[in-house]
Structures are given as structure tokens and as C-alpha cells.
């Protein structure tokens, strides 16, 4: 049986609901942090509307609050977003038949969360004809939810002096833990995670989140080196 556009869309929304539990407090803390670190409410919401990249926005606001130069913030955002190149490359074969009016919004709305559910769905058996509607459902829910919780955070952040005391930023940590751990299926992947984590911890005192860039590069290098030493690793779909 072929699922039609409407069923695919609803299935995409449904599959993404669990991930909103992590995204909601994360969006809220972003909104609150943005206004308490000196952004105007309009720019805080604007960043969610036009950039739409949770981790990058979070890091961007932190750097902005620390008085970091604009080009450095943009460069850091770029490195943090490089992982989307893998997501896009993984999904590209499934969506390349689509016209531009589909590809541009789907590209803009690509997130860690939607990638996880959409890539899984494309790997399921069955007729993939309308699966871009699943992607659309997932992406739209992520986007609207992110806008809503950013707004809630902006309002809360304007009213409450120190929103970081709630510890809601832990939502980002635990969401990313839940996404990383299941992808560690072999030694190169473990090496990449451990190397990136250790370097990030040691390099934390470096200014401008430079440690983040360094750690990401070391992690990728560790993965590639361990993979080369072990010879061929069975091709696996990530994550």
C-alpha cells in the first residue's frame, strides 16, 4: 500500500513529536539567553526565523555576549554547521528528483532532529514516492515549535533576571547525547567521539570557542585514522 502525501505528512509530524521535548526547553533557553545577553527581542526571534540552527544560535549568542568579533562568530557557526553537509549528502539521493520549490525549503529546514527521523524513514521498506511530504511534516513541526519556544524564552528572559539558573540548557546536552551514542557502532566512530570530547575539554580555555573547532577537526581526523588502520569498515548508514 502506498502512503499518500497527507498520510506521509502526518507520519512525519508524529515521528518528530518526541524530539520536540528536547527542542522546547532548548528553544526557550535560547530566547531567554539572547535577550539577557543584550539582543533585541526582534533580533532574537529573527535569528530563529532566518538562521534556524539550534546549536549554532546558542553558541552565537554566547559568543556575542562575550564580545566576540562578528566574523569569528560566523566562522564558528560555519564549523558547527558542517555536520549538515553529511545530512544533506545522505538525503540528496532521495530528494534529487524534486523541483527547486521543494529543495530550497527542505534544505533550509534541515536539522539534526528532522534528519534522524527522515533518514530512518527513507531506509524503511515501501514506496518512497511521497516521502518528501514526511520530511516536510517533520521540518514544519520543528520550525514552528522552535519559533514558539524562542518567543516563550524571549518573554521569560525579559521578565526573569537570570534564566540560565533553571539549567534548561541541559536539554541540549541530553538531546545530543541521545543522538550521538546510538551512532557509535564501531571503533572509528568511538575514536572520533572520544578524541573530540577530550580535545574540547582540554581546549575549553581557548578564546572564541576556538577549542570547539579544534576538537571537531581532531575528532574527524581520529575517525579517519582509526578507520584507515583497521582497513575496510563495512559500509553503514549513519546514524
Amino acid at each position: 500500500m502506498t502512503a499518500g502525501p497527507r498520510q506521509e505528512f502526518i507520519a512525519g509530524v508524529r515521528a518528530t513529536i518526541p524530539l520536540e521535548i528536547g527542542a522546547a526547553p532548548f528553544g526557550m533557553i535560547f530566547g531567554a539567553l539572547a535577550v539577557t545577553s543584550g539582543m533585541t527581542p526582534a533580533a532574537a526571534q529573527g535569528m530563529s526565523l532566518f538562521v534556524f540552527a539550534g546549536a549554532s544560535q546558542f553558541i552565537g549568542v554566547n559568543l556575542l555576549a562575550a564580545g566576540t568579533a562578528l566574523p569569528v562568530i560566523v566562522l564558528t557557526t560555519f564549523v558547527v554547521n558542517l555536520r549538515h553537509a553529511l545530512y544533506a549528502a545522505t538525503l540528496a539521493p532521495h530528494v534529487r528528483h524534486l523541483p527547486q520549490r521543494w529543495l530550497m525549503p527542505l534544505g533550509f529546514w534541515l536539522t539534526d532532529e528532522s534528519f534522524v527521523v527522515v533518514a530512518n524513514h527513507y531506509n524503511e521498506p515501501g514506496d518512497p514516492r511521497y516521502r518528501h511530504w514526511f520530511y516536510l511534516g517533520s521540518a514544519l513541526l520543528m520550525y514552528l515549535n522552535w519559533q514558539l519556544w524562542t518567543l516563550v524564552g524571549i518573554i521569560a528572559g525579559s521578565a526573569i533576571p537570570d534564566p540560565t539558573r533553571w539549567g534548561l540548557d541541559f536539554a541540549m546536552v541530553v538531546t545530543f547525547i541521545g543522538m550521538i551514542i546510538p551512532t557509535i557502532k564501531n571503533r572509528p566512530m568511538l575514536a572520533a567521539v572520544v578524541a573530540a570530547g577530550v580535545v574540547a575539554a582540554l581546549a575549553n580555555p581557548l578564546p572564541n570557542k576556538f577549542g570547539l573547532i579544534l576538537a571537531a577537526l581532531c575528532g574527524v581526523a581520529a575517525g579517519v585514522i582509526v578507520e584507515a588502520r583497521r582497513g575496510e569498515v563495512k559500509p553503514e548508514t549513519t546514524p
Binding site: A85, A88, M104, L106, V173, G178, V199, G223
Partner: protein
């Protein structure tokens, strides 16, 4: 204005990574080595983001004590993710544990 310039810059590098790759892969040949290396980017970047937030909860001071709820709950989160392999369970139980731990030990 400065903050809108920042938004524009961040938007360009974000969309500039997501969209062109989606558009070009399959139309242009991607070297196999690049594709393989790319697989390590997401876990490496995500680990590089979360490990410092667990070890340096205020951003600057290394805190390895049990008072550090980010570290304790982060370790619990890793165990949850590893045992359950379920993202929703990991997020809900991990966040629940974190809030409970802070409440019980009166941490702010």
C-alpha cells in the same frame, strides 16, 4: 545594525552548507574519501559541544564534583542512551533525573 548583520552572516553559512550539498550531491561526483570523513563530522561536532558544557558548567571553571549536576546527569544520560537506544526515553528520563537531582540536592 550589528545583530542583523550577524543574523545575515549566520544565515548565509547555515543555508550555504545545507542547500548546495543537497543540490549537488548525485549531480557532481563526491570523492569517496570526503564522504567517509564526513560521517565523523556530526558525532565529533556534537561531542565537542556537549563535553565542555558538562565539565565547565559556568563556562570557565572545571568542576568534577558531585555538585556538578550537568556532569552527573550527563553520565546518566550516556548510560540511558547506551542501554535504551531510545532518543525519547533518553531525553525524558535524562532531563527528569537532572531536575530531580538539582531539587534534591538544592543546587541552582
Amino acid at each position: 545594525m550589528n545583530e542583523w548583520l550577524l543574523i545575515l552572516g549566520m544565515m548565509l553559512v547555515t543555508f550555504g552548507v545545507r542547500y548546495p550539498v543537497m543540490l549537488l550531491v548525485g549531480k557532481l561526483p563526491m570523492p569517496d574519501r570526503v564522504v567517509r570523513a564526513l560521517r565523523y563530522v556530526p558525532p565529533a561536532v556534537l561531542a565537542a559541544i556537549i563535553v565542555p558544557s558538562m565539565l565547565y558548567p559556568d563556562g570557565q571553571t572545571l568542576d568534577l564534583s558531585l555538585q556538578n549536576s550537568y556532569l552527573v546527569a550527563g553520565v546518566v544520560g550516556v548510560i540511558l542512551a547506551w542501554r535504551t537506544r531510545n532518543l525519547l526515553l533518553t531525553i525524558v528520563l535524562g532531563m527528569g533525573f537532572f531536575l530531580l537531582y538539582r531539587a534534591v540536592f538544592g543546587l541552582t
